[in-house]
Subunit: 399 residues, 2 copies
């Protein structure tokens, strides 16, 4: 597997992109377009929040036919809690873009991120569609990666090349993070392009697996956005023979897709507002995968654990306390907790008594917490960040 | 119902208390004793965390007979994650106190709060028992209320008098809060005394009802301590005729108990570290009480909602987003959200467009958030605080 640098969604054959400022935000680019020169197979994974933004509802309908050719993305407005008008607004954008590009309206997807509860300034978006489409280019992935940034401090893109039966297949992706707490913008968006030849049901299956092992493993503040979207377009231009289910090629493709998603997911955590540490939480030997996940998230979302890591304050007792609060099955005297691979709690007893040794464990930027439940054989890993006063300051002052 | 000021656990007949510094903490009182001059009926409600501190395990066993006469409380050490030794340590304290006071060891309860994962300095506690018991007095409730404080900024006590068939019955209580995030001390403790004549099963029933409507309605940081304990002693000295189940007297007694508990619960939230606002979250018209509770806690524990209130940033869209994330039953287009009794979201649409009007709603110190789901007839109220940079600063710096 070969990796690309400084290029992402335009790395696969036949994908163009462009971004510009249309006036939703005061300054900086706020409108992007991702376009395949031929109709592509498409799949998406969306927020499971019951309150869904209008573009999420529209995309779920548009993706029923398993195809798409363009994705238009605005920042500065989430188009959420906007009722029927919000859906009509999103459809107006879809239809105007379909008409301009001369493609089926049903092949246009739309994504939004920004403030909730305000109507979309549709006219600003529609009047910018001409310039946006005319400027489409095979070498502007940097521009789109930057345009997606809201509270992000660096653009997030990744691309890899794999070989499927002698044919070169490329997967590229851009993402924007949720920052840590962003009162006005807390959405995770990711757009993935590939020139692989793959059916839409298999593309969906592959995407689900990749997302489960990547974006579904991160937590910044335990919040679930109304707009979270991961969308993939596969235009088949690599001319590999169609990927079959359960084949070696499906496995290679899914692994590569997951690799790209993990890379972006970790970047999102690294870019969490005010964060000074990257934390990997792994729960091992749980009774079920669901229990491993519940326990891992209980630790990863714990303000006490996050501030403890931020302060390099080795009060590891908070970790068994989280396990106990998570409601999963284990016996207290059988669990073991590790910080940076050192056992700190075993047989119901503290393992390291020297506070200086404990403090030293938390000095690094990358922190690993492992909790071994010894009640089964399942594990789950979550990536998260620490919690600092800086990010609360940023967000309480935000208006 | 008459209320007392500046007196609490010694307001009912026959209760003495004392507190002193025994050396677990560097300075300030760290050991308290609450004592009834006669054996009392007793009941407790404890943390549901699977990882329970040794004193919690001991008290649950000691309370099986429904009686107690003394409670000894230390701060500075939680005696949690300390294995069998931890339990033996707690029992040594119990036995030493029982012997000194010449009461049954089975009538002594113990509570601890402080750092997790360190063994209890038993010898310091036992050697202080003599002075502690000798100093017991009918007018030191102020001293004990102050001695319980850890990161609390003010002592928390309350007492009321009720009339049961012509007899004066008094209920008094002291509590310590969890602060907001306290890496080393995050325990909620509450000790209640009363001179009511009531059987232990009824005392337990009354306490459960009072706790459900008070301490189980607060949330500061969504963390569940390993040491949380609410204990009540009822010594019967008021000589009221024994309270009967489902009687008018039981109702009056439980209402008074709940009143005292609510008062202390609210004090705990008001004293949350760095907090600038007191927030009441009420979910109305939910399908079940469990759903109302789940939705209310999703809002009360949301960092996005807490920072929004702290920053007086009226991004109310975060409230429907929390409802959607909570997994409870409702239709987005049927819910209604109120801030300070003003409707901000209804029929899937924003109700107030003027940002200045919205900001003005959040200026007060006491904030009320109401979410009406319109999917049933149940409601639940949670009290919480806002989230400021100050409390994160306090806690990351804590070592």
């Amino acid at each position: 597997m070969k990796e690309f640098k400084n290029i992402s969604i335009t790395a696969p054959l036949g994908f163009k992109t462009n971004a510009l400022h249309c006036g939703i935000k005061k300054k900086n680019a706020d409108l992007s377009l991702i376009y395949s020169v031929v109709k592509a197979k498409a799949a998406g994974v969306f927020t499971s929040n019951k309150v869904k933004a209008a573009p999420v509802v529209i995309d779920q309908e548009q993706l029923r036919n398993g195809c798409a050719q363009a994705i238009i993305v605005n920042s500065g407005n989430a188009n959420c809690c906007t009722g029927k008008k919000g859906k009509l607004d999103a459809l107006s954008v879809v239809n105007a873009l379909g008409k301009y590009l001369e493609i089926d309206n049903s092949d246009v997807l739309v994504a939004s991120t920004g403030i909730i509860g305000k109507f979309l300034p549709v006219e600003k978006i529609i009047s910018a569609i001409g310039s946006l489409a005319e400027g489409l280019s095979f070498d502007k992935s940097d521009l789109t990666a930057a345009a997606l940034m809201t509270t992000d401090t660096f653009p997030k893109q990744a691309a890899v090349e794999i070989n499927l039966k002698g044919k070169r297949v490329i997967i590229g992706a851009v993402a924007k993070g949720a920052g840590m707490i962003c009162p006005n913008m807390a959405t995770m968006l990711c757009f993935i392009t590939t020139d692989a030849n793959i059916s839409s049901p298999l593309l969906k299956k592959s995407l689900r697996q990749a997302v489960d092992g990547s974006f579904n493993c991160i937590s910044v503040d335990g919040e679930m956005s109304t707009n979270d979207s991961v969308i993939i377009l596969a235009n088949g231009l690599s001319s590999n023979s169609a990927i079959k289910d359960n084949s070696r090629e499906f496995k290679i493709f899914t692994q590569a897709l997951k690799y790209v998603c993990v890379k972006l997911a970790k970047m999102i955590v690294q870019d969490a507002e005010g964060a000074t540490k990257f934390i990997e939480v792994r729960v091992e030997k749980a009774k079920t995968k669901e229990q491993a996940k519940a326990a891992a998230y209980q630790i990863a979302n714990s303000l006490l654990v996050k501030t403890m890591i931020a302060g390099e304050n080795p009060n590891w007792g908070r970790i068994p306390a989280c396990l106990g609060a998570s409601g999963v099955d284990f016996k207290d005297e059988k669990i073991e907790v590790f910080l940076q691979k050192k056992s700190v709690y075993r047989n119901g007893l503290p393992m390291i008594k020297d506070i200086k040794v404990l403090i030293k464990l938390l000095e690094k930027k990358d922190i690993e917490i492992v909790a071994r439940l010894n009640s089964g054989k399942f594990e789950y890993t979550v990536w998260t960040s620490d919690l600092t006063a800086e990010y609360v300051r940023i967000n309480t002052e935000y208006t």
